[in-house]
Symmetry: C2
Subunit: 541 residues, 2 copies
């Protein structure tokens, strides 16, 4: 027997219309590419999103056609979030930090019909547009009078003249909530990027979950600064959750330096900010010399990579800002865990709380997770045992766009490619990437643990631990080390340095001194390349 | 094109399993009917919910069969919430405050197969079981040794022996998320009660929404006391939202007196409580004489009826507890609006904030609302204009169980039967019931406004305003008044009392002194009966 509740599909358009209706005058403030500050309201944003929808209709775009963006965080990008998905098309946010060839490859693979870009990316578009075979319309996110002459880009239109010609009256269509709404390509370190294809249902459920008190804790009392980019995994879903809650939105545009971010936080009375550690490091570096303080900032969520303990301490102890660790991935819309404490932790000392805060956090309802051994058997949640981390839930992918890479699921679970521990309270901590962990005699050694010890040595600038085939133990770890300029350390001294810092059997079998360790576009070490470089290396007997 | 996210239905069973897995040792504390305190964890609750599911299978209950409860807030009731719905049956919570004949009528109408009841309701069951034609199994929520001998109820089983025989291993089925999960009958003032039939989808979406920071703001850091009964509209969904967030749950059982509630709040470090004004009044009355304070309570949500301003002030100013007005109804699962302030209200004075706090609040994302005039035209949101309040959303009913009462929707909107204003910021305020508002010359007069003025007169104990047919104005208001014992007031004095307190045309045409005003079971004035009593009344010419 079915229930007798209203059958209303979960639609992304309903988020912006809710905000326009119930939080019509709540502000959306953007620092523009031009450097000035633009401010308007949810009501304005909804009107202009409807103009975007009409403009897409006028281009004769079909249902589910892809519309790409190459843009910073700002109000026009927000209008595209709603206008594109709300009218039934698919928003394809492209990461401008990818190699131009990869951008062209992605646009062709997605079969993008339209590309909307901030003027700061004009040189990039000029370089790649000739290789983009499916894009029919190029839109520059600017006023008509800012449109560059002789750009060399065919039929280039300014966003303002494009939508300005359209009515702000539009009946958002209702359709199957499982319809694709947006897509994002992973920055895969091997092979071509693969795309997650989100739906209206997954994005709306994620929007509810992301706003929960133990997740991002978003409300109409907040002014929220998403430093996390809208060009990657929907800025952690903040553009959706903000509309769901009626929170004030503050967009930083391209100005992510410490001074710009600090001034925006203060001027717009930001209460909550979300970003990656590098941006927060620039912010703290800017604030320290002049003894600057936050007047309104209370909470920040940090994700993308593990946050250094010193940064958590600085925010917490020196500035009174609560730092929450987040973990997720493109394939998860992206949020999987948040590190908020529980009722039972109230009485812990601040050091004990810090031990928990350093973990990636506990699962949000909607996401389940488990760790498994090499045979796929579930491992215990004791905070020590580690295994491959698998997740499932309504905002986790079941496969990649166009079926690339085949069926990624294992019994309905998505393998994250991370190795992690989970403690008895459900707090997960990433210990390594699955492909980097060293499997020695049936036991696993975290390459990150081994690297962390090496870089603690005063003469070590950078260190990468990889596994090398071993006749008896299958694999044994070695450590590749870049010395600091003018500093010296010998193989024996470094191996000696490991004594007492880890179990004997986890100490690397050898140290290899190298001039550089290959890095990817996002600053991550490329261990595949390192393994190639060292392919003729032989373990000492 | 569909998205490529995992297709996982929203299932109520996943809430309790999430809590067991990720918040396994979070506490659930219950004051039992026996008076003692019972404590266990979400892990225990999940195990016993699975035993309930197995016990229902053992009774050969079919999918969607109804299982009724007549029970206070407590851990066994919680297990039924999950065991019944999770296994695909429908939980039918019965309000024990209804008339016994109505309880029997409801049980027959729902075609309940099983009835689980607290021992405090044994006399009630003894009185009605002979009239309940569909119930095959009676379960007393008690230990085997507490089972009354010679109860006269056929095949009476104790809950503990019933589930004790079952395994706590159970694979929760997955099925269409629109499947009915629970039902609740409205306490309709006219005709037979009608039932809302909730679904797994509607309950899960409501659970997300209810936990949001601007709604009930529930988190794993909270200890939550739902004083609102689990026998009516799922205790505002708290049993679901608590599991979703891992919050500690504190159940008061039948002891709702001020002393018991106060002691429980203090002993269990309750941070958040939800209830109706009468219970909070008893609590404040208990606390005042001894100068008692709250150590941990920070927030309370009050709904069910409008909260007196003095109570909001007392909680806020004297005890430092934030009071949030809530509004909803059985047909809405039940939450529609919560009264939390916005970012823009930060700088208001406390008096200005109080003016907002007295309203019923703003819509939660998922619920939309509008006010319309007699012709169904939408009215403006100016905080003054009032009209019939209509709502829609995925946790609002589309029709009643068995189609009773026909199609209630108007163009997809559910008419709440309330008359309300909505201000420019989306804050809704109930001004009257639709059937009680007086329509005079095309304008509407709120019967509640007219009553509030009358009861402000020192000689008036109770007042009811009703409309009387008028040849020119269609309807004109009159006020029926019960005088306080030993006090006097004349018709002319009372009409004089209205001068300057409301618009001239809203002043009643007449005062009728009566000995009593008929009241319903829940203390509400029965204006239908009053109108009957006064059917021969004639307006003065």
């Amino acid at each position: 027997m079915l229930g007798l509740m209203q059958s209303q599909p979960l639609m992304i358009s309903s988020l912006i219309e809710f905000a326009a209706r119930h939080h019509g005058d709540a502000e959306i403030v953007s620092r523009r590419v031009e450097g000035d500050i633009h401010r308007y309201t949810y009501k304005d944003a909804a009107q202009r999103s409807r103009q975007v929808a009409n403009a897409l209709d006028a281009l004769k775009l079909n249902f589910s056609d892809r519309v790409a963006t190459l843009a910073w965080n700002g109000y026009r990008h927000l209008e595209l979030y709603y206008g594109v998905s709300g009218s039934g098309r698919v928003l394809h946010t492209i990461n401008p930090r990818l190699h131009p060839d990869q951008i062209a490859w992605i646009a062709n693979h997605a079969e993008d019909q339209v590309l909307c870009f901030d003027l700061s990316f004009l040189p990039l578009i000029q370089a790649v547009h000739g290789k983009c075979t499916t894009i029919k319309h190029y839109i520059a996110l600017c006023d008509a009078d800012k449109l560059p002459a002789d750009s060399g880009i065919p039929n280039l239109l300014s966003y303002e003249s494009w939508i300005g010609a359209q009515s702000d009256d539009y009946d958002w269509p209702e359709f199957d909530e499982n319809t694709a709404s947006s897509m994002c390509y992973t920055s895969g370190t091997t092979g071509h990027p693969k795309a997650a294809l989100y739906s209206h249902r997954s994005s709306t459920l994620h929007a509810y979950a992301a706003a929960l008190p133990d997740v991002m804790g978003m409300s109409a009392r907040d002014a929220i600064l998403p430093v996390v980019p809208m060009f990657h995994v929907n800025a952690w879903g903040i553009p959706y959750s903000a509309a769901l809650t009626g929170a004030k939105l503050v967009f930083p545009g391209p100005a992510l330096d410490g001074k710009s971010v600090y001034e925006l936080i203060e001027a717009e009375k930001v209460t909550y900010a979300a970003g990656v550690p590098t941006v927060w490091q620039m912010l703290l570096t800017h604030m320290k010399p002049g003894g600057l303080r936050f007047s309104t900032l209370r909470r920040t969520v940090i994700g993308g990579s593990a946050c250094p303990p010193a940064m958590i301490k600085a925010f917490n102890d020196d500035y009174g800002v609560e730092v929450l660790h987040a973990w997720g991935m493109t394939e998860m819309s992206p949020l999987g865990t948040l590190c908020t404490l529980k009722n039972k932790h109230d009485s812990l000392s601040s050091d004990e709380k810090m031990t928990i805060r350093l973990k990636q956090g506990r699962a949000i309802y909607g996401v389940d997770m488990k760790i498994v051994d090499g045979a796929g058997e579930e491992l215990s949640w004791d905070g020590k045992t580690y295994g491959d981390l698998l997740v499932k839930g309504p905002w986790v992918i079941r496969e990649y766009y166009k079926g690339e890479g085949g069926d990624p699921l294992v019994d309905g679970w998505f393998p994250t490619g991370d190795v992690a521990t989970i403690d008895a309270d459900g707090y997960m901590q990433i210990t390594d990437r699955s492909k980097d962990v060293i499997k020695s005699g049936g036991e696993w050694i975290s390459s990150i643990d081994i690297e962390n010890i090496a870089v603690a040595h005063p003469a070590v600038a950078m260190a990468a631990c990889i596994g090398v085939a071993h006749p008896k133990w299958d694999e044994r770890p070695i450590i590749a080390v870049v010395k600091k300029p003018g500093m010296e350390v010998t193989r024996e001294e470094l191996l000696q340095f490991y004594e007492g810092k880890t179990a004997k059997w986890q100490i690397p079998d050898d140290v290899v001194f190298v001039d550089t360790i290959p890095l990817g576009a996002t600053g991550k070490m490329l261990k595949t390349k390192l393994r190639e470089q060292l392919k003729n290396y032989k373990l000492p007997v």
